[in-house]
């Protein structure tokens, strides 16, 4: 009986290893991320790590300062000005927001103000969304990036306890954060 139990446990452990995380290097267009967001972005370590890379490469940290906030609002706290849902953050990144958040989705439909020259591909914007949510602990700990390769500005994302998100009124953006 004990041997059967051990055997079953071994088989169960082995079977658990079958489902390897998939790295989708080339999401096939047409691309509808809303349907696959959870599986392919927020629960995918590769997508979260790519978002972390893009956060620096696209100079998000220039204003948001690795999540702690500077010229822009902090991203690792519970307070959200324009909503914490994935599609709301996607809107913020794509179309920009008043008071300085630039639009990364091209000039069409962008909030008047700052527009980045150039268009970040859709799937990379979703990778950023997933990473931004991981900053305040909204992404799963088992997928979120661990320690940084470079100098640390904050605790790793996968040891961040989820904040209870609350949406501040939009005019809160006027006062310095």
């Amino acid at each position: 009986m004990a041997r059967t139990g051990t055997l079953l446990a071994v088989v169960a452990v082995a079977a658990a290893g079958c489902r390897r995380e998939e790295r989708d290097f080339r999401p096939d267009p047409p691309f509808s991320a809303a349907a696959v967001y959870d599986r392919e972005f927020e629960r995918n370590a590769y997508a979260l790590a790519e978002g972390k890379r893009l956060f620096v490469a696209m100079n998000c940290q220039g204003c948001h300062n690795l999540g702690g906030g500077g010229m822009g609002p902090p991203l690792m706290d519970a307070e959200w000005i324009y909503g914490f849902g994935p599609s709301q953050i996607y809107e913020t990144i794509s179309k920009g927001r008043p008071n300085g958040m630039p639009a990364f989705g091209g000039p069409e439909g962008a909030t008047p103000g700052v527009t980045v020259a150039g268009t970040l591909p859709e799937y990379q914007r979703w990778q950023l969304v997933a990473y931004v949510r991981s900053l305040s602990g909204l992404a799963d700990k088992d997928a979120a990036p661990s320690r940084s390769d470079h100098m640390k500005g904050k605790p790793p994302e996968n040891s961040k306890d989820p904040e209870a998100p609350q949406v501040a009124p939009p005019d809160a953006g006027d006062k310095p954060k």
């Binding site: 490469a57 150039g118 970040l120």
Partner: protein
């Protein structure tokens, strides 16, 4: 010891070794610089010593097998009276011989290391800064005048006969800089600058390769070293300092607009335009380079078009995203990129 497999094996090794030289000029057995020459000399010495030792050992093994004590019908002879002494002399002698040979190789190795470092004494080397990225090489020619600093990618042009000090660093993970025809490997470690010295003594094009596993496209992280006379090198450097030429034809102007409004501008630099990002390889003079995608593809219009549209099918995992452009936009973009000489 059966003869045939041994002969076939030897022939196969010989053929494989013969293939080592000359492939695309990426071989430590075809030195083009003083350091690679010393490394090659050391290799030759090790090869000769090891071949002699191997032949001697095999000869003794064969002799010992052939000189067996006969079949079961012959009586076993008694060992000679001074058996222990003979064994002691032979084993002791071989141990001493081994130590002497290994110590000789150690001295040769030490002298080679000293010889390789001799280029560091050069008072006026050309300084080139090479930064490893996943998966391409950023090459920067230092100059006291800031506007004369030249940044290019995946191609290192050097003057023949002049010492080049290569300052190495990495922006992400550990890479290793290796141009076998010129020198051995040097690691590129993030946060810890390293350096190496090169000197090409004859003209030519030498391939280099990242020699430390650095991720998905490690194997396709290659570079070319172009060694040519000082005058030609200076002319090339002067051309690289100029900003990109303004597009003239209508399609080229349209292509520039595509470049500056789509994804390209977010990562690439074209000097003289608003594209100034340093995330990906600089493209100011991309049309003058022989290869694209860190040595992966020849720089032709067809390859460039394929690379821009879908780099992930050429180098899966590469940092460049697919760019589904409309056909006329892609044609215009290629027209523009071809002007960046």
């Amino acid at each position: 010891m059966s003869g045939r497999p041994f002969l076939v094996g030897t022939a196969a090794v010989g053929l494989a070794a013969a293939g080592c030289t000359g492939i695309n000029n990426q071989s430590a057995l075809d030195p083009a610089g003083v350091q690679a020459g010393r490394i090659h000399g050391l290799w030759d010495l090790f090869l000769a010593v090891c071949v002699i030792v191997y032949v001697l050992v095999m000869a003794f093994v064969i002799w010992a097998v052939a000189r067996r004590r006969g079949g079961s019908d012959r009586p076993v002879t008694a060992p000679p009276a001074n058996q222990d002494l003979r064994t002691g002399v032979i084993v002791g002698g071989c141990v001493v011989l081994t130590v002497v040979v290994l110590f000789g190789l150690l001295i040769a190795d030490f002298l080679t290391g000293r010889g390789i470092d001799s280029l560091a004494a050069d008072a006026d080397p050309l300084v080139v800064k090479v930064t490893g990225h996943q998966w391409w090489w950023e090459v920067e020619y230092q100059d006291p005048v800031p506007s004369h600093v030249v940044t290019t990618a995946n191609e290192i042009h050097i003057p023949v006969g002049r010492t080049v000090r290569v300052e190495l660093s990495s922006s992400d993970v550990i890479h290793s800089f290796w141009v076998p025809n010129l020198h051995g490997k040097t690691d590129m470690i993030p946060g810890r600058p390293t350096r190496t010295f090169l000197r090409a003594d004859r003209e030519g094009l030498y391939w280099g390769q990242c020699a430390e596993f650095c991720g998905h496209q490690h194997a396709n992280m290659r570079l070319q070293v172009v060694a040519r006379p000082e005058a030609e090198f200076q002319a090339w450097l002067a051309a690289q300092r100029r900003p990109a030429p303004e597009p003239t034809a209508e399609s080229q102007k349209r292509g520039q607009q595509v470049f500056l409004t789509r994804s390209c501008v977010l990562c690439h630099t074209v000097a003289g335009t608003t594209a100034q990002s340093r995330v990906g390889p600089p493209l100011t003079h991309v049309a003058g380079r022989a290869r694209i995608a860190a040595g992966t593809l020849p720089n032709t219009r067809g390859h460039l078009g394929g690379w821009v549209s879908d780099p992930q099918s050429v180098k899966p995992g590469v940092r460049m995203p697919p760019n589904p452009l409309a056909p006329d936009e892609l044609r215009a973009l290629l027209d523009y990129l071809e002007t960046l000489k």
